[in-house]
Symmetry: C2
């Protein structure tokens, strides 16, 4: 078990919206992803989902009781999407992100809109 | 619930080895800390502990079956200390780090050497 350099990890793949698992913590994964454009509206019924932006800017559109709200995460920002909240990650200019979530969590959640071709339904790939 | 800029969060405190909780994910905390010098040998019997280095360099000395081993985490490196492994974080030149671990996890673990005055036994502070 040795440290992993995130720069090297990011350099090892180019596919967008396709998380790589860089570490495990008990029954949680630390995943990284390159993103650009729009993901898909989805909801995790049983888990929160944590985001840290390492490069670029990520926006997350949330469907809240009071309506839609977009949170903007520039580089170095963190945010947790609460369980049960429909959300859609978006990154017009592209971003590199890190996520914490329970192992086995699907990228498209438990319920989702129709999954577009550029979005992969996965629980993450080994680096 | 709004995003938190880690730069602002780090600017809000100066105490070393005294983690601040920047986000919660289910029953886990995301904590940040400024560190410099030596922490204390300790072990978490029931949980792994995840480290990401955001500034500077962190070293973690591990007591493994084959002897002591130091893993070096430069900026941008990640590493998980497995549960049950005695370890001592060290940073001769100082570092800013992010950790992921179950809420309530003590900085000095379940068992530890004598805690020096500069090390705080805490489960993390609200930002």
């Amino acid at each position: 078990m040795n440290p992993i350099a995130l720069d090297d990890a990011f350099a090892s793949f180019d596919v967008l919206w396709s998380p790589r698992i860089v570490a495990r913590v008990n029954d949680y994964d630390v995943r990284i992803a390159k993103v650009e454009g729009e993901h898909v509206w989805h909801v995790h019924d049983h888990t929160d989902e944590f985001f840290l932006v390492l490069r670029g800017e990520l926006q997350i559109v949330l469907r809240e009781e009071s309506g839609e709200r977009t949170v903007v995460l520039p580089r170095g920002a963190v945010f947790t999407v609460p369980r049960g909240t429909y959300h859609k990650p978006v990154s017009p200019g592209g971003a590199s992100i890190l996520m914490f979530e329970p192992s086995g969590t699907l990228t498209v959640g438990d319920r989702h809109d129709e999954v577009p071709g550029h979005v992969e339904a996965t629980t993450g790939h080994v680096l």
